[in-house]
Amino acid sequence: MFAIETHVALAILIPLLGAIGIALAGKAPNIRETVTLVTAGLLFANVLTIVPHVLAGEVLVYELAAILPGLSLTLNVEPLGMTFAVVASSLWIVNSVYSIGYMRGNKENKQTRFYICFAIALSATMGIAFAGNLLTLFVFYEVLTLSTYPLVTHKGNEAALKGGRIYLGILISTSIGLLLPAIIWVWVETGTLDFTKGGILAGHFGPVASGILLFLFMYGIGKAALMPIHRWLPSAMVAPTPVSALLHAVAVVKAGVFSVLKVSIYIFGVDFLASVNTLEILTWIASFTLIAASVIAMTKDNLKARLAYSTVSQLAYIVLAASLATPMAMTGGALQIVMHAFGKITLFFCAGAIYTAVKKTEISDMRGLGRQMPVTFIAFFIGALSIIGIPPLGGSWSKFYIMLGAVEADQLFVLGVLLISSLLNIGYLMPIVIRGFFYPPLGSSDPKVAVGQEISFLSRDKIREAPILCVLPPAFTAMMCIVLFLFIDPIYQMILPIVLP
């Protein structure tokens, strides 16, 4: 319809226009929700039209504004960003459906503000995905932080206020205090901020400087939640579940690790990164985060808190992949963005569905709940298996490639770390499913049955699921976890060219 570059710009514009539409339709909830869904659909269609052009290797550049002399807000689509954009925009549709079910089911207030901020956050996410240089990335990164703040503090109570403070405090202070000086430093030394295949730092930064710069970036991108700056992520769980689902499983944290990969591949360059002498420290920190977060997750009885720490751990996989600095590991990291997005959003959707149906948040209260909500719990089971990385689910591929990368980088201890982590994942995710199906509901006990005479405790008349709009989305994303296992090759083929020299 338009020139293809215009479609790139439209990816930013559509959600913004949607936000205006939502604001105008604020008084009529049905129209407002229609606007959200239509916007999400349009955005997805728009993103899809760009895909074939990226696959064909076209260079798509769109300049938004010249913000500083020699530096402009530029969009430049490349395969990694394309992947991220497709994931985020497709999940926005699913999530919008879910939001409607959840927000109405729980009779939340200020819903118009909720949908407006959501749309702005999506616009910022598209900006991050398509950013053509570090400045553009930074700009949209900050917009994403600020536009999600009202979502995190949606409930407006004391807990929300406190969570919001930690959220904003950590994200803003790391980005302004570390990421911004890192960017300006790169600009002063190299005279460019463009994402360039093979990196731009080689020859400009010495061994000490590049070692420091690496950590300025890795801790400056606070959204990647590397320990010890991960505290914001659990704090943000005070938000309504759709926010946790999309923003803290897909958009916000993924924007963080996406930026980590983008900086590693296009600013450092895989080869130069491999020569940075502090890289191994990063590997250790990521490994530590990976395991420590899993251990903490086991101690959490609140379902969303457990999932939050699980996210911290899963994000560390991607930082770990970046720190291995080999093509296979980078590919694994990129795949992990996709796989974890679908897996984790399923889990959050289920958590929200449970809350909407029975208002339960603690895992110990969820005994026997699977018998009442089998669809939700089966979806949870599938999502959990994908997170753990068991075939035939999508999550197994990313772990597989990261392991290949570890071998390629000759860091064999990483294999051990990944193994322990997967076991820990089983340890904190499976009990939820087991309690759901095999334990009797609270306050009752199952009749004793003789061996060979077992009966199913599932019965049709006991099923009381959450509203249909809260159940379909997790069922769909769980299906996608399986589908992604089978159709991994196109994504793999798309990402491979950018990491190979």
Partner: protein
């Protein structure tokens, strides 16, 4: 060149100066305001004209009364002064658009004529300081500005009697500052026998190494520092800004201290010369620590304020610290950052003070405890305040970000330990800004509104000008060719020229 264009430098001052007595005679609430607004807009139009001419053809010199330069008084519009004139008259006009309803509530109607005549005098004085090429003339205009600003601040007396003591405090401190400047100018006159700035500058090298000149430099720098509210001479500013009428605060926040920064630039770079200022007497070693202490300590102090106007005033002192550091870096990049920040901070802070003015107009107080839940009572105003606050923090797409970018670039460019330390300090200070802005945000959005508070927006006559400044600041944060362009031009003129 047409008649008007050839007299442009003097017109920018003469128009408000002559209109002031006329204004004093007008009665009623509308006429004095209307006349002042028209006059200020005219002054703004002339400033735009001057800036365009200067950037096309270079500095304009104007001989007052046709007397040739060293004997007569010369007005010089160069890239720096033209840029500052544009800021002053632009801010003044924007604030005046807002003034009508706001000031009618704060000043008794029979005093409005006198109020606006003092306002015009302050405007004329500031424009005069900027455009004049004569050292003694600077003092004269400085006194015009100061005297009228004491009056303007004291006018806040109806709302809060503390306006009187703060005006008196400013009077005492300001007079000391002005006297110091006068002594400095006198010493320079004694040594060079001339008052013309260009003339002093050309003879300065010959007498640079004498004791009276050293004394003159000391008096001038301290005198200007007092007027600039440079740490530790800033005591008067928070009081004056807190208790003055809303529009006076907004006007001064964007202009008064900026004029002093201009004076500092003018004396350091044009008269003393960069080599003398930083090489011989090493002003960097004085200005740098003061600037750093200013932005770190004043940002911290701002966190603990209970009055939003006062909070913003302390933040202003901190921002002046950034400008001082920019100057003290003694590089073209630092200078660009400093001049750019004059513009950016002017537009942002004025917008912020105007939005607080809206809150005061409706809620009757600028104390945090009275602004609880203001976010739901006055959504548009509060959202404007938040956007302005983001600019103060330096979030991208705002002018604050552009300033910070240039400042950090200037400090990193040094490449030494001091440069890195300064970078860290500045970033720390902007994180402090997050805290003080977010204190207001939390009070505004998370505290329930008092039961008896009515939900009412400020009238459109207040809201529209406020939002002009807010949107304008975003414009200059995204499309930076105008502000960055002129700032770079002025900086390279100061470093290269004269």
């Amino acid at each position: 060149m047409s008649l008007v264009a050839s007299h442009a430098p003097v017109l920018a001052i003469i128009i408000p100066l002559l209109a002031a007595p006329v204004c004093a005679m007008l009665r009623g609430t509308t006429f004095p305001w209307f006349l002042t607004t028209v006059i200020s807009a005219l002054s703004f139009a002339v400033s735009v004209q001057i800036l365009l001419t200067v950037s096309d053809t270079g500095p304009i010199s104007y001989m007052l009364g046709g007397w040739a330069a060293p004997w007569g008084i010369e007005y010089v519009a160069d890239p720096l002064s033209a840029f500052v004139m544009l800021i002053i008259s632009g801010i003044s006009t924007g604030v005046l658009l807002y003034a009508r309803e706001s000031i009618a509530k704060e000043v008794p109607p029979h005093q409005l004529g006198l109020f606006f005549s003092a306002y015009l005098l302050a405007l004329a004085g500031m424009m005069g300081i900027t455009v004049t090429g004569d050292a003694f003339n600077i003092f004269v205009f400085l006194e015009i500005t100061s005297l009228s600003s004491y009056v303007l601040i004291a006018m806040g007396e109806k709302a809060d009697r503390r306006a009187l003591t703060s005006a008196f405090q400013y009077l005492i401190i300001g007079t000391i500052g002005a006297t110091f400047i006068l002594i400095g100018v006198g010493l320079l006159y004694m040594m060079t026998g001339t008052l013309n700035i260009a003339d002093i500058a050309s003879r300065f090298d010959a007498i640079a190494d004498t004791r009276p000149v050293r004394a003159a430099v000391a008096f001038l720098i301290i005198g200007i520092a007092i007027k600039l509210a440079m740490f530790p001479f800033h005591v008067w500013l928070p009081n004056a800004y807190s208790y003055a009428p809303s529009i006076v605060t907004a006007f001064f926040a964007g202009t008064a201290t900026k004029v002093s920064v201009y004076l500092l630039l003018r004396f350091i770079f044009t008269i003393f010369g960069a080599e003398f200022s930083f090489g011989v007497v090493s002003l960097s070693e004085l200005l740098m620590p003061l600037g750093v202490i200013a932005f770190l300590s004043m940002s911290t102090v701002a966190i603990f304020q209970t009055n939003v106007k006062r909070l913003l005033a302390f933040s202003s002192v901190a921002q002046l610290g950034y400008m001082t550091v920019g100057i003290a870096l003694a590089s073209e990049a630092g200078l660009t950052a400093s001049i750019l920040h004059i513009f950016n901070h002017a537009i942002v802070k004025t917008g912020l003070f105007l939005s607080v003015g809206c809150m005061v107009f409706v809620a009757g107080s600028a104390y945090l405890k009275d602004l609880e839940g203001i976010g739901s009572r006055m959504p548009l105003t509060t959202f404007g305040f938040v956007l302005g606050g983001l600019a103060l923090i330096g979030v991208p797409l705002t002018p604050g970000f552009v300033s910070k970018w240039y400042l950090v670039m200037a400090t990193l460019e040094r490449g030494d330990f001091l440069g890195y330390a300064l970078t860290a300090g500045m970033l720390l200070s902007s994180l402090l800004a997050v805290i003080y802005i977010w204190r207001v945000v939390e009070v505004a959005y998370f505290r329930p509104a008092p039961a008896d508070a009515e939900a009412r927006e400020a009238p459109l006559s207040l809201l529209i000008p406020t939002w002009i400044f807010i949107i304008g600041s975003f414009y200059f944060g995204i499309q930076t060719t105008v502000n960055v362009g002129f700032a770079e031009k002025a900086a390279s003129f100061l470093m290269g020229g004269l």
